[in-house]
């Protein structure tokens, strides 16, 4: 059965959330989730970069790597494309919104090594998506990542002045929350299967 891009889009957000079911892109997820505002900014940046790079990588893969029979170079090529795109995004954000630029700070270059973004490009190849499916999957994954980090930022904001045992403060409690969130999201996973 060929899945519609729209189904893939929603599945990537809810049932197969890249962060909560594949556990990709954890680094910036854990470190930037203290405030809803900056989480939102980073989420937007990740979504934008994911869509852009996945589309570019689709084109590179199908029109350069496959015809030349060098698909084994996909890891290197995908990373280069992502790195260049992030640089470009950085320039555009600096020009358009200095406030967002400084809020994201070092996390903007960190998107380069956000494995969720490389993961989306690689899943697109493994699952042999068509172009439209790829667009749906990339947009869904980006928004899914944003949903997860926003949810976590919301929970952390609520926990800010609550009592947490010393040993669990910071990363400890965050990972436990993430685990519980993952359980909740995996609960949806029977609805649609996209992998």
């Amino acid at each position: 059965m060929v899945l519609s891009p729209i189904i893939i889009f929603f599945a990537a957000i809810f049932t197969s959330n890249i962060l909560l079911t594949n556990f990709l892109g954890m680094c910036s997820y854990l470190s930037v989730s203290k405030e809803i505002e900056s989480s939102f900014g980073l989420g937007m940046a990740v979504t934008f970069v994911t869509i852009l790079t996945t589309v570019l990588n689709y084109l590179v893969y199908h029109y350069i790597l496959v015809p030349l029979d060098i698909v084994y170079l996909q890891y290197i090529i995908f990373i280069i494309v992502i790195a260049a795109t992030v640089q470009l995004t950085e320039m555009i954000i600096e020009r358009v919104s200095p406030v967002l630029y400084y809020t994201l700070g070092i996390f903007l270059p960190l998107i380069t090594v956000n494995c969720a973004i490389l993961g989306v490009s690689l899943f697109m190849v493994i699952r042999q998506y068509t172009f439209m499916q790829t667009v749906g999957y990339a947009a869904g994954s980006g928004l899914g990542w944003m949903l997860a980090i926003l949810a976590l930022a919301g929970i952390r904001a609520k926990l800010k002045d609550k009592f947490i045992p010393t040993g669990l403060q910071g990363a400890g409690i965050t990972l436990i929350i993430t685990g519980i969130m993952a359980l909740a999201f995996i609960g949806f996973s029977g609805v649609v299967v996209i992998q």
Binding site: V60, L73, V81, A84, Q87, L88, P98
Partner: protein, 367 residues
């Protein structure tokens, strides 16, 4: 073989294409064209290539805004009033600005990037700050980690400053540090000696400027600095003076004590110098001499951890408990502090407890 070459060619081709794209983007997106900086309502107007920070651009045009951290946004000294342009307030500036400054649109010049015409206002005395070239005349080892530097001015040949002010020393590129950085150091020489300048610099592990000074700077080298900056200066009163400064914080105090002596001050002065062990003491003889030269000056070194079995017969522990002993009239006492933010706040608290009015406590905090 062709197979390997082919792969290299493709990867290079794709990388090259993307690099070209980035270069083009840099030319078109990051190009802000020529901008005009208007200072103090037309007193000075400079045309600059947009895209860099306001602090850098002003520095390039010989206008030196005080900055202890060299533009990293960690000292909050480089404040200017922005009248027009400059973009929205950034989260990196907020922590350094109080409510009144926010209302007046005071900004950190190191954080603002000039991307359009901008109008600013700066205190007129900043126009007199100069960049000096000087030769390293002498490097002395004061302790295992503190050096005293004497510079002979080359151009301009004289410097006018007040005791307690500081200059920004510029490093030269060395080892892995390819760019110039500048760091603030208090002047330790007597302001009456206008043709030389002395600094006291303590080695900071991994510090870019202090490593340069300690490991790469030699007598005879040429250096540059800008200044003088700062309002940590002697108040013109007759009140008792308490100096509290450890380590390289001794620099401005040395300058002040020498200046006061030169100008025949009769004020009562006490200098508390806190150190860890005997090998952290320096210039002790120098200050002992001033005890004799000045009518009422006491030098009080205090060791927190004198070595077992050492012949130290002076005071031990921290400096705070000894203030009481030398305090006569707290309401008529001025305190001059130089040290880390932690030390400043602890000493200020103690002095206030003893009854020294807050507006008589002056300090120079290491940023």
């Amino acid at each position: 073989m062709t197979f390997i070459l082919w792969n290299i060619l493709i990867v290079s081709g794709i990388s090259g294409g993307l690099a070209l794209l980035l270069v083009l983007a840099d030319m078109f997106i990051a190009n802000y064209g020529e901008c005009t900086i208007d200072i103090n309502n037309g007193k000075k107007q400079i045309k600059v290539e947009g895209g860099s920070s306001l602090l850098t651009l002003l520095g390039d045009n010989n206008l030196f805004i005080p900055s202890a951290c060299g533009g990293r946004g960690s000292c909050g000294f480089c404040k200017v009033k922005v009248l027009e342009g400059g973009g929205p307030l950034l989260p990196t500036e907020k922590p350094y600005l109080n409510a009144q400054e926010l209302k007046d649109n005071i900004r950190l010049s190191c954080q603002i990037k000039v991307k359009e015409d901008i109008k600013i206002w700066i205190p007129p005395e900043l126009f007199s700050i100069k960049r000096f070239r000087a030769k390293v005349a002498k490097i002395e080892d004061y302790t295992y980690d503190i050096k005293g530097l004497t510079f002979k001015l080359i151009e301009p040949t004289r410097i006018e400053f007040k005791a307690g002010q500081y200059v920004q020393l510029e490093t030269k590129p060395y080892a892995k540090n390819k760019s110039t950085v500048s760091r603030a150091y208090s002047i330790s020489s007597n302001p009456d000696h206008e043709d030389i300048l002395q600094l006291i610099i303590r080695r900071v592990p991994e510090g870019i400027c202090t490593t340069w000074v300690h490991d790469h700077l030699n007598e005879g080298d040429e250096i540059s600095f800008t200044g003088p900056f700062g309002d940590f200066v002697i108040q013109d009163t007759e009140a008792d003076m308490f100096f509290i400064a450890g380590g390289s914080g001794k620099a401005p105090i040395k300058s002040m004590v020498e200046y006061l002596h030169n100008h025949g001050s009769k004020r009562r002065m006490v200098y508390f110098f806190g150190a860890r062990t005997k090998k952290d003491l320096y210039l002790t003889e120098h200050f002992r001499e001033y005890e004799k030269k000045l009518p009422d000056f006491t030098y009080v070194p205090v060791l927190s951890q004198p070595e077992e079995g050492s012949d130290w017969d002076g005071r031990t522990g921290y400096v705070l408990p000894y203030f009481q002993e030398f305090m006569r009239d707290p309401a008529k006492t001025e305190a001059y502090l130089c040290g880390s933010p932690g030390m400043i706040s602890a000493v200020t608290k103690e002095l206030k407890k003893l009854g020294v009015p807050e507006d008589r406590i002056f300090y120079d905090s290491f940023a």
